[in-house]
């Protein structure tokens, strides 16, 4: 049986997607009305509406379930009931799935961020890349960038963030069952996770895993961690991001309009299975969803070129358009899936390609700009660590609030491809 609450939530989601398709001034039609025959939707709008419901609900075969049925809201609700009934059947048949249902009981017990020690005014970066002084500030909204000093690299920044997170939770590195690491700049072996494994002095049988996704890496890492908890493979996991762009995207190798946007930073999150010893202030992982909007695959490409050079194809305008459209879509889907109004969240930890786009995104979603921590404005685009540093900032802002006042946090990010992902955290 599908719960009444579940049915109500799905109905709300369907109605919201319908309004998005036809406009908020159109009233919701009679559930049994044939939406195509009566001209409420045309065939393009009908499929578009269904895809929106699929994306927001996670029921990916809705279109398939509705083939050979009248295109009506009632049949969508029936397809939902059928899909849920089937998944409940699978759950009762599979003990593994039963374990997976505990995925919401993973909490972030501590977090930390570390950025490159040098703080460089963006005008200095303009000059280094041969651009007019003030271009990065005026066009992208970047005021300063965090650059690693000579002693810093992905390993040292990542290790610093991880140590701080461990200290904040009074957790010894030996308690870690896995470290999950993501970086869009570290290349070479041993991999960054292996190096961090040694640097942090974790147990030999603590797993070390590198995940990709570039700027989406943090969300990928959190989702992988959630899976490891759900399958009973871990009780404590560190998810670490670390990116040092300033050594890769240098003047002469890439154009300033691209290379000048990036800074260096890292973040770390200590995750534990929720049990009786939950700390006073913690956030639990909600659900995550992912995808790839391949129509934007050409907007950014980075590849090795002969002679140790980098071949960068960067369609700044196209990428900006894609980023705004897709991040907006992901955040709306997070809102629909979670049932949490975006206006009520503590903050949004999103990718921040540049501060201008964050401002635009906030405007598009009718959100106060300060709901997005000013990461790119102060440190530059930190790659996979942008989302991490932003999430750490939101978590720190909630630290001193009474539990009842700590609102949920939305996560949304993108990576070349165009990979996208979203999710949410709730206070426990």
């Amino acid at each position: 049986m599908v719960s009444i609450e579940g049915k109500k939530r799905f109905r709300h989601l369907v109605e919201e997607c319908f309004r998005r398709e036809v406009g908020s001034d159109v009233s919701i039609p009679d559930p049994v009305q044939d939406l195509l025959e009566t001209g409420v939707l045309d065939s393009m709008g009908w499929v578009s509406f269904l895809r929106a419901v699929e994306s927001a609900s996670g029921i990916n075969d809705l279109g398939e379930l509705l083939t050979e049925r009248t295109p009506s809201l009632e049949n969508i609700f029936q397809a939902f009931r059928d899909a849920k009934a089937e998944s409940l059947l699978h759950e009762t048949q599979s003990s593994d799935t039963r374990k997976a249902s505990t995925k919401s009981s993973v909490i972030i017990v501590s977090s930390s961020a570390a950025v490159g020690s040098r703080r460089i005014p963006s005008e200095e970066i303009d000059r280094a890349f041969g651009m007019p002084a003030g271009k990065l500030r005026l066009r992208a909204g970047i005021e300063t960038l965090a650059y690693a000093d000579e002693e810093e690299n992905e390993l040292t920044l990542g290790a610093r963030a991880a140590q701080q997170a461990l200290h904040a939770a009074a957790c010894g590195a030996r308690e870690l069952d896995w470290i999950i690491v993501t970086s869009e700049t570290h290349r070479g072996y041993p991999s960054l996770s292996a190096q961090l494994h040694s640097q942090l002095l974790t147990r030999e049988n603590c797993g070390a895993l590198d995940v990709g996704g570039a700027c989406l890496g943090l969300l990928n890492g959190l989702a992988v961690a959630q899976g490891l908890f759900a399958s009973g493979q871990a009780s404590t996991i560190a998810v670490i991001t670390s990116d040092v762009h300033s050594r890769t995207f240098q003047p002469g190798r890439v154009a300033g309009e691209f290379g000048g946007l990036f800074g260096d930073g890292a973040s770390a999150f200590l995750l534990r299975a929720r049990n009786g010893s939950t700390p006073q202030r913690a956030y639990a992982l909600g659900e995550f969803f992912f995808g790839c909007a391949g129509q934007y695959a050409g907007a950014i490409r980075v590849a090795d070129a002969p002679g140790g050079h980098l071949e960068v194809h960067f369609d700044g305008e196209g990428l900006s358009r894609a980023a705004i459209t897709r991040l907006g879509k992901v955040i709306l889907d997070v809102e629909l899936r979670s049932g949490i109004a975006r206006s009520t969240v503590q903050g949004l930890a999103t990718h921040q390609p540049n501060p201008r786009l964050v401002t635009l995104l906030a405007k598009q979603l009718a959100l106060a700009p300060d709901k997005f921590p000013a990461v790119a404005q102060t440190f530059g685009n930190l790659g996979s660590s942008t989302c991490g540093v932003a999430l750490d900032a939101v978590l720190q802002s909630a630290r001193h609030l009474p539990p009842s006042d700590a609102a949920p946090i939305f996560l949304a990010s993108l990576g070349p491809g165009l990979l996208f992902g979203g999710g949410w955290l709730v206070s426990v």
Binding site: E21, S48, R51, E68, A293, G294, Q295, G298, T325
Partner: protein, 237 residues
């Protein structure tokens, strides 16, 4: 008199939209014959590959449907060329390998749901050919949709399939006369043999088109998928 090689016959509600190739000196370009009163034909008893004689008035349609020409008289079939040769000519007409090149403009994502669209003043044409790396057809709530990867690696999802022959084929596959489990059998075909038949075809080619402006937007659609379906494929599933 104009000689027109018919390359597109697409479904437009109860009518058909037709596009052909016309040779102009060394150049081959797409031309869309329309009637004086409508953009489509209620009756069009010809096939892809037919070479038709017709009288087309030198009228240029509004952007992006610059290929429109008013047909003054009827059509007379002169000859026909095989499918493979149609593709040879299509490759000499409008072709592109990446998303922005298709219609010479930025293509936008539907923020509310699925589909891609162009803004009419920006698009430079309304039809273009391309080769795909991969292509999938599926039925989404009774609507035939295509998802495909261009040679640039860019992916287009949920394009309405308006190709007359493919739509007829799908309808024939779901005909009640074909017995039980028709939908499941068709889906199995689309997920297996279809893929093999289309992508292993040495002259596999598609043409994408833009709809007429609808609330100021022109939506992408799959006009033509070559190879065209063969009736005997229905015996295979």
């Amino acid at each position: 008199m104009t000689r027109l090689l018919i390359t597109e016959i697409t479904r437009m509600g109860p009518a058909f939209c037709v596009i052909g190739l016309q040779r102009e000196k060394e150049k081959i370009r797409s031309v869309r014959p329309v009637t004086a009163t409508a953009n489509s034909w209620l009756h069009f008893p010809y096939d892809r590959g037919d070479v038709l004689q017709c009288d087309l008035a030198p009228f240029s349609g509004s952007k992006p449907h610059i290929e429109d020409r008013v047909s003054i008289s009827g059509f007379a079939k002169e000859s026909a060329v095989p499918e493979r040769q149609v593709v040879t000519y299509l490759r000499k007409a409008e072709v592109a390998g990446s998303l922005p090149e298709l219609f010479g403009c930025v293509l936008h994502e539907n923020k509310n749901g699925s589909g891609l669209f162009a803004k009419p003043p920006e698009a430079k044409r309304s039809v273009c050919g391309t080769v795909t790396q991969n292509l999938r057809l599926e039925l989404c709530a009774n609507e035939l949709r295509a998802t495909l990867a261009l040679s640039s690696g860019e992916v287009l999802r949920d394009l309405p399939v308006v190709d007359r022959d493919w739509r007829d084929f799908i309808e024939a596959a779901l005909s009640i006369r074909r017995g039980a489990n028709r939908l499941a059998r068709l889906e199995r075909f689309l997920n297996s043999q279809f893929h093999y038949k289309v992508l292993s075809c040495p002259y596999h080619f598609i043409r994408l088109g833009l709809t007429r402006p609808y609330y100021d937007l022109c939506w992408l659609m799959l006009d033509t998928l070559i190879p065209l379906p063969r009736h005997d494929w229905l015996e295979e599933f």
